[in-house]
Amino acid sequence: MANDVMLSVRHLKKYYKGGLIKALDDVNIDINEGDVVVVIGPSGSGKSTFLRSLNLLELPTSGEIIFEGVDITKKKVPDKNGKMVKLDLDEHRQKMGMVFQHFNLFPHKTILQNMTLAPVTLKKMGQEDAEAKARHLLERVGLPDRADAYPIQLSGGQKQRIAIVRALMMEPEIMLFDEPTSALDPEMIGEVLAVMKELAIKGMTMVVVTHEMGFAREVGNRVVFMADGQIVEQGSPSDIFDHPQSERLKDFLSKVL
């Protein structure tokens, strides 16, 4: 199944104020199974908007997002008999895990409840199976003893690791990371990146918006440089970091490296 297109984005546009502000201006990309796509760019370049559009937390003005063969920007889609049926966006979102800059753990639930809530509510697994899976994942990220703690008791790095495994509980096919380390103290960035790296090695398809150039170079197999709502340049990490073509990218790299 390797190298099958999982997610393809066609002519994605997001306009504000009737087109005066173009947050996304005709973005096209194919994301293959197993890809680790790292999106970099100056702030305001549209990279977060792009990522948040992929699971429609941000509604695009126009364009298509085809996830496993279904255009999820549509309200109605043809079923296998060609009949138009209502698109169940929630069902597609279950297959797309997302990790946020500010973690967004549920403060009124324990860590274990944070992790089991969605899979149990959506009848993906029973309570006992979910708890067993949650404890196994907590073990994997080095937090087995925090199952009954509340989010407020955890450090930022711990919260973000929990947020990652909470998304993994739904067994997603793709993981979206929206600046996962930007709100962390410097000494906590490493522990979160380590979890993400392990995930990449295990073959998870990932799209990561980040300012961590070291991570982009080391873990990414494709790097996308965005500016002014457009993809300006993309390629392998060595293409982007060692042989930048456009002035915009050269300028950006001179500031961040």
């Binding site: 937390l57 003005t61 309200k75 889609v77 997302m98 959506l122 407020i152």
Partner: protein
């Protein structure tokens, strides 16, 4: 004749059972009002957040995408939410006294309530219109409290829930409402205090609450100052401890946040 005299208090206190009855009436009126008001408010708040869009289908173009023109906007119209918003805005923009009279003299003109006595003295056919008018009024304010409670929850909470695949109603029920209701409990209790005070207005339609007792005693003894002062003391003794108890629980609950 002195404005205030011991004899005046003595005369007034002969009618102490009227104050007792007034107190019972005020408390039951306020309690029923907050109860019904909260039910109305919860329904209104949920309606305003609901996804009821009967014209949804006309907004979907041939290829299944959402139209962005005028018809697309029209398809997003939620008539129930519109009516609920009208209700809240009209109630909030008109005086309580006007609403009370409208209910008593127009809505319940052919008074449908049975002529029975609650606790042996409260005239039900006057009491009930008072409860309904106060509840409808309080419901509008409480629904705004509920709405602000929901809006006070960080949008990231809903985004996280939706990104896990929960529906908008599941996110509301499991993630947003539990956090919101905890935040607004003190405000709801404060509304109870407000209602205790505002319920005095129902004496104008003959509900036998505390101010009705004042008017009756004034008629019997020809003194107004002493009954008024006693009524003031009763109101204060009702509301002051209530707000102190609320403040106590407010502190206790906010401590929970810092677990």
């Amino acid at each position: 004749m002195n404005l205030i005299s011991a004899a005046g208090f003595a005369r007034t206190l002969k009618y102490w059972t009227m104050f007792r009855d007034g107190l019972i009436c005020t408390v039951s009126l306020s309690f029923l009002t907050v109860l019904f008001g909260f039910i109305i408010a919860l329904i209104v708040a949920i309606i305003r957040l609901s996804d009821f869009k009967p014209f949804r289908n006309i907004g979907v173009a041939e290829d299944g995408s959402q139209r962005t023109d005028f018809i697309g906007k029209l398809s997003q119209f939620n008539p129930l939410a519109f009516l609920a918003t009208c209700y809240v805005e009209i109630i909030r923009a008109t005086p309580m006294l006007v609403q009370l009279f409208i209910f008593y003299y127009i809505v319940f003109a052919n008074n449908p309530f049975p002529r029975i006595m609650l606790f042996g003295f409260i005239r039900f056919e006057r009491f009930m219109p008072g409860v309904v008018a106060l509840s409808v009024n309080s419901g509008a304010y409480l629904s705004e409290i509920i709405r602000s409670g929901i809006q006070s929850i960080d949008g990231g909470q809903t985004e996280a829930a939706r990104s896990l695949g929960l529906s908008s109603w599941q996110s509301m029920k499991l993630i947003v409402l539990p956090q919101a209701i905890k935040n607004i409990l003190p405000a709801i209790a404060n509304e109870f205090v407000t209602i205790i005070k505002e319920s005095s207005i129902t004496y104008t339609i003959g509900v036998q609450e505390i101010m009705y007792a004042v008017a009756s005693i004034k008629g019997a003894t020809f003194s107004i100052v002493e009954p008024l002062l006693i009524a003031t003391a009763i109101y204060f003794c009702l509301t002051f401890p209530t707000s102190k108890i609320i403040a106590h629980f407010e502190r206790k609950m906010s401590r929970g946040d810092k677990r």
